[in-house]
Amino acid sequence: MTDAAIAVPTAASTPTRSVLADIWRQFRAHKGGVAGLIVFVFILLAVYVGPYIHTVAPNTINVRARNQWPSLAHPFGTDNLGKDMLAQVLAGGRISLAVGITAMLIAVSLGTLVGVLSGYLRRLDGPLMRVTDLFLALPLLPLLLVIIMLFRDTLRAAFGPETGIFILIVSVIGITSWMHTARIVRGDVLAVKSQEFILAAKSSGMREHRIILRHILPNVLSSIMVSATLGIASAIITESALSFLGLGFPSDFPTWGRLLFDGANFLQLTPSRVLWPGLAISLTVLSVNYIGDAIRDALDPRTLKR
């Protein structure tokens, strides 16, 4: 008992730093997570800083220099219109990552909201979980096709073709992928809710929303983080699938999925057209998954105690 009394003030003096440092220490112990982080940061840097180093515009057409293998001028080669593949992969990465991260934010916020509400408020549990089931039962791709057909023109008129389709794709992916987060969060909330410190908080007269924000959310954060990382990966893949089907962004708007789609026919002729966007998608998804894995381990209270 005295031990604990001493331990609490020291922890309280520099609480955030030591917790973060703890998490970071745990994170570093996960080799895959560190590798994933390095790769992901590298991809981010390449995609956002790269264009300042490799200054070729992605949409410059030069038919005379088409289907070229990698060279100094075109490190990734050129496509069948003579567009520089490296510039396209970099430009495509900005879109794909933006789609992935934004769609993930939407999905995770929605999922957390639904999960916490249904876990914490008993009367909402039934209806919200049935809605979740309903969304889970919807076939994703046909739904996407219908939504895109219905709202394409309205959004295009309001925000222009590219922003419009970005909003559409991001929200569509977000709205159709929050269900797993919601279920996981609900489960965690149910477990946390029955613990004594919640009862203590309640009996001290704390408001419900304060309980949720101060006590419940921090305790389910690890699973939210994990679904967030997985969400980025699946959003990038869904966008690739849409682009691969010829939907999504206009055809002169490179995304990794679109580049893969366009390059597939040229696999034998210029393999690098498929190799690099494919590698970029795989590496991003893989690294993000490893980061998620490491974060989960790092945030797990049981491993933190060690």
């Binding site: 038919v63 289907n67 295009r156 008129a157 089907l245 010829g246 206009p250 055809s251």
Partner: protein
């Protein structure tokens, strides 16, 4: 059991005989696998203007006469082609008489009679029927039976080129008994008749899955007892041009695939496998960009691209239409996307030789960015801060739609790049080919609805006479909700003078005069910018090296002689 034994014995005997006596025998060569990467949505070409439907149905239902690979008429269901010389066409050009072969049977065993022809004409000309091939029956006043096997067609006006109704794959004869309750507005409701028409052709539909697979079997009542050589045929739909080419040329999974719109360099790598070969024929296919003459603003909702929407704010200016054409470098598009299978063109009627005009080649065939810029400057279209020209608040920014195909998307990008040099912006969109050409009146993305400012695709005409093709740009052929979006005047071009000239063409008998008029009409369309012709495309298909008898035909259905196809032994 007994019957089966007899049948088996019979077929064994037949096989034994076949090996020694006759070369060909019906149904000895197994399954013929055809791949159409645009899936077929109906087997009734009267309800769909799509080439794929016309081709697929040509295996089952036949016209009275069709064009061979040289563009010459050959009789199919008739004894001979009526001409003035043999008395089949009246001297005054007001009527013609077809004599049916006496013993042609429908696949259900009933005889083909004059009655079926009369019915076919009535079916396609019925009001509210939305017949996609109505142009074939234009100017036909009456179709009547002289006797059960003789049909007389009378025309409203002297018809110098009378081979239109019942000629070519777009105008086949359908069975009166099967379609009798499907006339007019009820036509699309007769699903079983539209999916499984009874025909006189070499194959019968056994099973039809719309937009997927059609299974055929040999027609037991086909008029030539030795044909077809294949017992069954499967026509698979879907996929894309490149995978279709691969399935025939590289893996050999299919015997025949149609429309190889694939980059030339990709085809070359596939050909190296030696499983198949390419066949090509230059017919009348022209890849064109249609310019919407009506307003296609999405804010107009279901009114867009119809007469109520009003003229297009930018494309109604002739200077804009001309500048768009002048800015395009057709040679580069040809080189990047078509290679041997295409040539730059400024004509919508690029062949036959006698009808091919050179009237617009001087200003249109070579790229002229400077001239185009000057034209737009003079017309008052001034570049804005973003480099895009505008006038009175209307920006030269166009929604440019086409079907999903790598060559088309590459062409789109090239054209967008060329247009950007004259201060015109394009927003690219591509729609799955099955939807774009599907003709579904409920879909907003079909090429007939044209909910875009410009759209690109290929079309052609059957046979060698362009009269009915040129009649597609008549004012009354504009697709609209009232006619089920079935009109063929996709660009919504309307010029009374053009209508008058088409009427004149219909009255002219002299071949040279006809060529003259046809060229004039063709030039008019290009000059006034109804559309921008890009590439005269060769029809490029591929077939397995084991398939014999394929005669590539650019003037009729590619499957026109499918009855003669066989497996190499």
């Amino acid at each position: 059991m007994n019957k089966l034994n007899i049948l088996l014995a019979g077929s064994v005997a037949a096989l034994a005989f076949g090996a020694t006596a006759a070369q060909a025998e019906r149904g000895t060569d197994g399954d013929l696998k055809i791949l159409f990467w645009q899936a077929v949505s109906t087997m009734n070409p009267y309800l769909s203007g799509g080439t794929k439907e016309v081709y697929a149905s040509s295996m089952v239902i036949e016209p009275l006469a069709r064009y061979d690979e040289k563009g010459e008429l050959v009789p199919t269901l008739v004894t001979e082609i009526p001409t003035i010389e043999n008395g089949g066409v009246a001297q005054d050009l007001l009527s013609m008489t077809w004599k049916l072969k006496p013993d042609v049977k429908w696949s259900d065993g009933t005889p083909l009679t004059a009655n079926d022809l009369i019915f076919t004409w009535k079916y396609c000309t019925a009001p509210d029927g939305g017949c996609a091939q109505a142009a074939q029956y234009e100017g036909v006043k009456n179709v009547e039976a002289v006797d059960p096997h003789t049909v007389k067609i009378t025309f409203e006006e002297p018809k110098p080129y009378p081979y239109s109704a019942f000629v070519g794959a777009q105008s086949p004869v359908i069975q009166a008994a099967q379609f009798k309750d499907c006339v007019g507005a009820r036509a699309p409701e007769c699903t079983s008749a539209n999916f499984m028409p009874i025909g006189t052709g070499p194959f019968v539909v056994k099973d039809f899955k719309p937009n997927d697979v059609i299974s055929f079997e040999a027609n037991p009542n086909y008029r030539d007892p030795a044909k077809p050589a294949f017992a069954t045929a499967t026509l698979k739909g879907g996929g894309d041009a490149a995978s279709a080419a691969r399935a025939v040329l590289e893996t050999g999974e299919f015997d025949y695939a149609w429309n190889m719109q694939v980059e030339p360099e990709v085809l070359a790598t596939m050909l190296a496998a030696g499983k198949g070969q390419l066949v090509t024929a230059f017919g009348t296919q022209v890849e064109r960009i249609n310019l919407n003459h009506y307003n296609a603003d999405p804010a107009l909702g279901s009114k867009r691209s119809t007469k109520e929407a009003g003229p297009h704010p930018a494309l109604s200016d002739p200077a804009v239409r001309r500048a768009l054409s002048m800015a395009i470098d057709r040679d580069i598009i040809d080189e990047a996307g078509y290679g041997e299978a295409g040539r730059p063109t400024c004509n919508i009627v690029p062949a036959p030789e006698a009808y091919a005009s050179t009237g617009n080649d001087d200003w249109c065939l070579k790229q002229d960015v400077e001239g185009a810029n000057k034209l737009l400057d003079e017309a008052g279209w001034v570049p804005g801060s973003d480099g895009i020209r505008a006038k009175d608040g209307v920006r030269l920014s166009f929604l440019y739609s086409t079907s999903t195909n790598s060559v088309r998307q590459a062409t789109q990008e090239l054209v967008k790049d060329m247009w950007s040099q004259i201060g015109v912006d394009a927003e690219l969109r591509n729609v799955s080919a099955s939807v774009f050409f599907g003709g579904d009146p409920a879909s907003p993305d079909t090429f007939q609805k044209f909910y875009a400012d410009v759209e690109m695709y290929t079309n052609n005409f059957d046979g060698t006479d362009p009269e009915k093709y040129l009649a597609e740009w008549l004012c009354d052929k504009v697709p609209a909700p009232e006619n089920g979006w079935q009109g063929q005047n996709i660009p919504r071009y309307c010029n009374p003078e053009y209508d008058k000239l088409v009427g004149e063409l219909a009255k002219t008998a002299d071949l040279e005069m006809r060529a003259e008029l046809a060229k004039k009409l063709n030039d008019m369309l290009t000059e006034e910018g109804a559309h921008i012709p890009l590439i005269h495309r060769g029809q490029l298909s591929s077939h397995s090296v084991t398939l014999e008898g394929v005669k590539m035909n650019a003037w009729d259905s590619e499957l026109w002689n499918v009855a003669d196809w066989s497996r190499k032994k």
